[in-house]
C-alpha cells in the first residue's frame, strides 16, 4: 500500500480548546485534537457534536471559543480557501432525483471552480472510481441507496480535494454495501492520496478502515489514538491443529503441553465454525510463536492455522466508557 501524501504538514486538522455553545446545548466543549494525514474516524453517538465539528471546520459556523486549522488555514478567516481544498459528503440525502449523476457531478465540479472541460473529465473519472458506469446517465431518482451514496461521494471528490469530510457514509447501506463503501474510503487515501475524516456512530466499521480514531462524546474528546495502538498492544493468537493416532484429540494435547510450559490457553467461543478446535492464547512476542511451533512439532501434529486475532476497538472503548462512567459517577 503506497501512501501518497500531497502535503508536507503532518497535521491536517488541528483544534485548540474549540467550543460551540448554542442557547440550550453545548455542542463542543473545549475540544483539542490533532489529526494527521490518512483515514481518521470520528466516532460518537448521535448528537455527540460530530456534525457541528465538521461545520466549524468548513468555516461555515463560527466557534464560540478556541481555534481550529484545516490544512494549515484558520477556519475563522480562511473559510473559502479551505472549502476550495476540501470535499464534503453530507449525512442526509442531497441529490435531486430528476438529473443524471453525470450532469449533477459536473455541475458540482464547476461550483468548486473547475473549468467546463476539466469538470466533465474529472466527473467521468470520479464516477468510475466510485463504481458507477452506465447508470450514470440515468436520472438519480431511480438509483439504489448504495448508488446514491456513491454519487454523494463522487461530488465530494470531483475537485480532487486534499481532504474530505464524510458524514456517516455507511448510513442506510446493507452489509455488502457497507463493506464496499469502507473499501472505497480506504482507497481514497491509499490510491487517491486524499486524507479522510469519516464519522460514524459504529466503532466496528472504523477498525478496519481508519489509521486513527477520535472519539467524542457530549462535545468532549474521549480518546484520540491510532488504531494500531488499540489493536496491537496485545495480540491474540488463534491456533488450530490436526489430530493424529497418538493424539486423538490434538487440541487437548496442545493445550496441556502449553499449560505445562506456563502459557494460558482459552478455547475459542462457541458459535463459530471450528469452535472447540481453535485455541486462543496471548502472544507476548516472538517467543510465543516459536514456542507454539515447537510444542506442535514435538507432539507430531499438523499446524492448520496460526493467526493473529485483533482486538476490536469497541473492547477498548468499552473500557474507556466504563472508566468515564466511573469518573462521572465519582463526580456527581
Amino acid at each position: 500500500m503506497a501512501c501518497v501524501t500531497t502535503f508536507e504538514d503532518v497535521t491536517v486538522i488541528a483544534t485548540e480548546s474549540l467550543s460551540k455553545r448554542f442557547p440550550r446545548v453545548t455542542a463542543l466543549d473545549r475540544l483539542s485534537v490533532d489529526v494527521g494525514p490518512g483515514v481518521t474516524g470520528l466516532v460518537g453517538a448521535n448528537g455527540a457534536g460530530k456534525s457541528t465539528l465538521i461545520k466549524i471546520l468548513l468555516g461555515l459556523s463560527p466557534a464560540t471559543e478556541g481555534r481550529a486549522e484545516v490544512l494549515g488555514l484558520d477556519v475563522a478567516t480562511k473559510g473559502a480557501a479551505i472549502r476550495e481544498r476540501v470535499g464534503y459528503m453530507p449525512e442526509h440525502d442531497c441529490l435531486p432525483p430528476d438529473v443524471s449523476a453525470t450532469e449533477f457531478v459536473v455541475h458540482m465540479a464547476r461550483m468548486s471552480g473547475l473549468p467546463p472541460t476539466a469538470a466533465r473529465e474529472r466527473t467521468a473519472d470520479t464516477l468510475r472510481h466510485v463504481g458507477l458506469y452506465e447508470e450514470r446517465y440515468r436520472p438519480i431518482g431511480g438509483y439504489s441507496t448504495g448508488m446514491k451514496q456513491r454519487v454523494k461521494l463522487a461530488q465530494a471528490l470531483v475537485h480532487d480535494p486534499q481532504l474530505v469530510f464524510l458524514d456517516e457514509p455507511t448510513n442506510g447501506l446493507d452489509p455488502v454495501g457497507r463493506d464496499e463503501m469502507l473499501g472505497l474510503i480506504r482507497r481514497i487515501h491509499t490510491d487517491f492520496g486524499i486524507s479522510v475524516l469519516v464519522t460514524s456512530h459504529l466503532l466496528g466499521e472504523l477498525e478496519r478502515t481508519c489509521d486513527h480514531v477520535v472519539v467524542i462524546d457530549g462535545g468532549k474528546l474521549l480518546r484520540s489514538s491510532s488504531t494500531t495502538d488499540f489493536t496491537q498492544t496485545t495480540t491474540t493468537l488463534a491456533i488450530e491443529v490436526t489430530d493424529t493416532d497418538d493424539h486423538p484429540d490434538g487440541t487437548r494435547a496442545v493445550r496441556e503441553a502449553l499449560h505445562a510450559r506456563g502459557v494460558d490457553v482459552l478455547d475459542a467461543d462457541g458459535g463459530l465454525p471450528g469452535a472447540g478446535h481453535i485455541l486462543l492464547l496471548t502472544a507476548q512476542g516472538e517467543e510465543t510463536y516459536d514456542l507454539v511451533r515447537d510444542v506442535v512439532a514435538d507432539l507430531g501434529l499438523g499446524l492448520v492455522r496460526m493467526e493473529q486475532r485483533r482486538h476490536h476497538i469497541s473492547e477498548v472503548f468499552k473500557d474507556s466508557d466504563e472508566q468515564r462512567k466511573e469518573a462521572v459517577g465519582h463526580g456527581s
Binding site: L60, D93, C94, R110, G113, L114, P115, H129, D160
Partner: protein, 302 residues
C-alpha cells in the same frame, strides 16, 4: 451485465478502459466568481428547461411561444395593412399578457430554488467556495434574466416589424426603449417576489400555487377596489390603491414616466408626484426580496 463488458467491440470510442488509476487534478481552480457565473448560466438555462428533461422544457417554451406569436401576428397585420402605427404600445404588451408572465414566474421560480431546498442540495453549494450572497445573486439574476427574455422578446419582434413596416424610426425606438425599461423593472420585481415565495415553500406544488395566488389575488383585489373607487367618483384614491399589486405598480410607473396609457379604470394613471412613490415602492420591493432571500439562505446553510 458483467459478462458483457469484456467482449465490448474494439471499435474505437466504444472501447472502455477500466482501472487506469487515479489522476490528480493540477489545473486551474477558478474560484467564487466563476462558480457564481456557472450557477447563473445553469439556472438561466434551467428556467427554459435546457439541460433538463424534455418534460420540463414544455411549459417554459410554450409560454415563450404564446408571448411571441401575437406580436408576430400584429406585426404581420401592420405590415400588410400598411398601418401608421402598431396596434399595441410597447409598454402595454406585458400588461396584456400578465397572465402568461405570472404563469411563467409561478412555474420557474419554484423549480429554480425549491428543488435545492427540498432535496437538500443547498449544503453542497455552501460547502464550496461560493457563499450565500453568491447563490442568492446568481439565482435572482438568472430568473430576472429569464423573465426579461420572455417579456423583451415580443417587444423586439414588434420593433423589428415596425421598422420593416417603415414606421417612424425615432418614435419606434423611443417606444421600444421605454418598453424595455418597463419590462426590466417588471422582471426584477416578479423574479424577486416569485423567489421569496418559492424559497419559503419547499414543496414545488405549493410554491406554484402560492406565486399564482399572490400575483392574481393582489391584482384582482386592487382592480376591483379601483373599479369601486371609480364608480363612487373618488378618482384620487385610484392611484394609491394601485400600489398594492405588482402589475399595477409597473403600470403606474410606466404611465407616470414612460409615456404609457394607464390600464387603470378611467385611464387615470398616477401623476409625476405619485409616480415617485410607485418607483420607490418597486425598488423597495426588489431590495426587500433580495434581503429576505439572503436571510432565508443564511438559515438553511448546512
Amino acid at each position: 451485465m458483467a459478462v458483457e463488458h469484456p467482449v465490448a467491440p474494439p471499435s474505437g470510442d466504444q472501447t472502455r478502459i477500466h482501472n487506469i488509476g487515479y489522476r490528480s487534478y493540477d489545473g486551474p481552480r477558478l474560484g467564487r466568481s466563476y462558480a457564481r457565473r456557472s450557477l447563473y448560466s445553469q439556472s438561466l438555462r434551467g428556467a427554459y428547461g435546457l439541460g433538463r428533461s424534455v418534460k420540463s422544457k414544455v411549459l417554459p417554451m410554450l409560454l415563450f411561444v404564446v408571448m411571441c406569436v401575437p406580436a408576430a401576428i400584429m406585426v404581420a397585420v401592420a405590415v400588410a395593412t400598411k398601418a401608421s402605427k402598431l396596434p399595441v404600445d410597447y409598454t402595454e404588451y406585458a400588461i396584456y399578457f400578465q397572465a402568461v408572465i405570472s404563469l411563467y414566474v409561478a412555474s420557474q421560480a419554484p423549480q429554480s430554488v425549491s428543488r435545492d431546498l427540498r432535496f437538500k442540495t443547498v449544503p453542497l453549494y455552501f460547502s464550496r467556495p461560493i457563499e450565500t450572497a453568491d447563490y442568492v445573486r446568481a439565482k435572482f439574476a438568472a430568473l430576472a434574466s429569464a423573465m426579461f427574455i420572455l417579456t423583451a422578446a415580443p417587444l423586439l419582434v414588434l420593433y423589428v416589424g415596425a421598422l420593416l413596416a417603415k414606421l417612424d424610426f425615432t418614435d419606434q425606438t423611443k417606444g421600444f426603449a421605454q418598453g424595455l425599461v418597463s419590462v426590466t423593472l417588471l422582471s426584477l420585481l416578479l423574479a424577486g417576489l416569485g423567489l421569496v415565495i418559492a424559497a419559503v415553500t419547499p414543496r414545488r406544488g405549493f410554491g406554484i400555487a402560492a406565486v399564482i395566488a399572490v400575483l392574481t389575488i393582489s391584482y384582482g383585489a386592487v382592480s376591483t377596489l379601483q373599479a369601486i373607487a371609480d364608480a363612487q367618483g373618488s378618482t384620487s384614491a385610484i392611484p394609491w390603491i394601485g400600489l398594492f399589486s405588482p402589475i399595477t405598480l409597473i403600470d403606474g410607473v410606466q404611465s407616470a414616466f414612460l409615456g404609457a396609457t394607464s390600464a387603470f379604470p378611467g385611464g387615470v394613471g398616477p401623476s409625476h408626484g405619485e409616480g415617485v412613490a410607485y418607483v420607490l415602492v418597486v425598488l423597495g420591493l426588489i431590495a426587500a426580496s433580495y434581503g429576505l432571500l439572503m436571510r432565508r439562505y443564511k438559515k438553511v446553510g448546512l
